[in-house]
Amino acid sequence: MHHDCLHVLLADDDKDDRLFFKYAIEELKIQTFVTTVNDGVELMDYLSKTENQLPDLIFLDLNMPRKGGIECLKEIRANKLFNNLSIAIYSTSGSEKDIEESFVLGANIYITKPNDFTSLKKILAEVININWQYHTSGLNKENFVLSI
């Protein structure tokens, strides 16, 4: 049994989105610890530093300056060290093509960003909960795909 908390990392260049995300996560029952970074370059920096604790779940915004979500996704999936990370794509685009491409490149979750805070909370609650089940029940992450 794991009693530890879930470490979540968000990479998003929008300050308001980062705040809403934090508020929404704070209200969940599952103990969650949030780290945020402002873009893909910062994210890869964070992950490459050994003194930083690796997150269990990363939320990646698709459109970020300097380095976008897809590029990060490719880099993360190419590195065996990060095999255990779940990756959630967090995007305003809900196109079938983007969704499928992200999954093929190794994303586990695809979230179409909702417009209101209530839906955001609901979606994040579901994502965190399902990820928690994968985390605590030894489920096969290779087959973990969720589009929401």
Binding site: E100, V104, Q133, N143, V145, L146, I148
Partner: protein, 192 residues
């Protein structure tokens, strides 16, 4: 008028615990913060009673027995889905109660408290995991998979699959296939 009081939370807790334990006839020693050493063990019944009384005071009994029962429940569900050639026709609640020797209500309450998911949803999630594996293994038709896992029809299974994963079974299959091809070609590149 106002009356001013000062209290020592530690002493309050200790005497409260002692009182309640005495009431249930349990001999014990308070070994430290948040830990009790029971002299003669505790029955499941006493454990329930104690948890209920203490809950009123905002004290929660954390117990390995609980985590181990929850773990056992998970194992039993997974075993049922993976080892049985076909799912038992009886309701899963009967199956679990019989295998674990507790009432389904008790198991179910504990389960959602510890795991943050209801047993029903956990089973659905595990069933869909099993479906994913069977789809990838590509040995059974979709209709056969539905029947093996007690779905009334393949349409029902498709609906539940889409509800849980957000994808249709066929797009799931396509994604996994492409992902593997993708990984395969990356591995080749690395070799070259």
């Amino acid at each position: 008028m106002k009356l001013y009081i000062r209290y020592n939370i530690n002493t309050t807790c200790k005497s409260l615990l002692q009182e309640q334990l005495d009431k249930l006839g349990l001999t014990c020693e308070l070994t430290g913060l948040g830990e009790l050493e029971l002299k003669n063990g505790i029955s499941a019944d006493q454990h329930n009673q104690l948890s209920t009384v203490l809950k009123k005071y905002g004290i929660e009994v954390l117990d390995d027995r609980i985590s181990s029962l929850v773990q056992k429940t998970k194992d039993t569900i997974i075993e049922m889905l993976y080892l049985e050639e076909k799912l038992p026709p009886s309701k899963v609640s009967f199956y679990l109660a019989q295998k674990l020797n507790y009432s389904f209500g008790y198991i179910s309450n504990l389960f959602s408290e510890v795991t943050f998911i209801s047993i029903e949803n956990f089973i659905i999630m595990q069933k869909i995991e099993r479906v994913k594996q069977l789809i990838i293994a590509n040995e059974l038709t979709f209709t056969q998979i539905a029947s093996k896992l007690n779905y009334s029809s393949s349409a029902h299974l498709s609906w539940q699959f889409k509800k849980i994963t957000g994808l249709t079974p066929s797009s799931f299959q396509r994604i996994i296939k492409k992902r593997r091809e993708n990984n395969g070609s990356n591995a080749e590149k690395e070799l070259m």
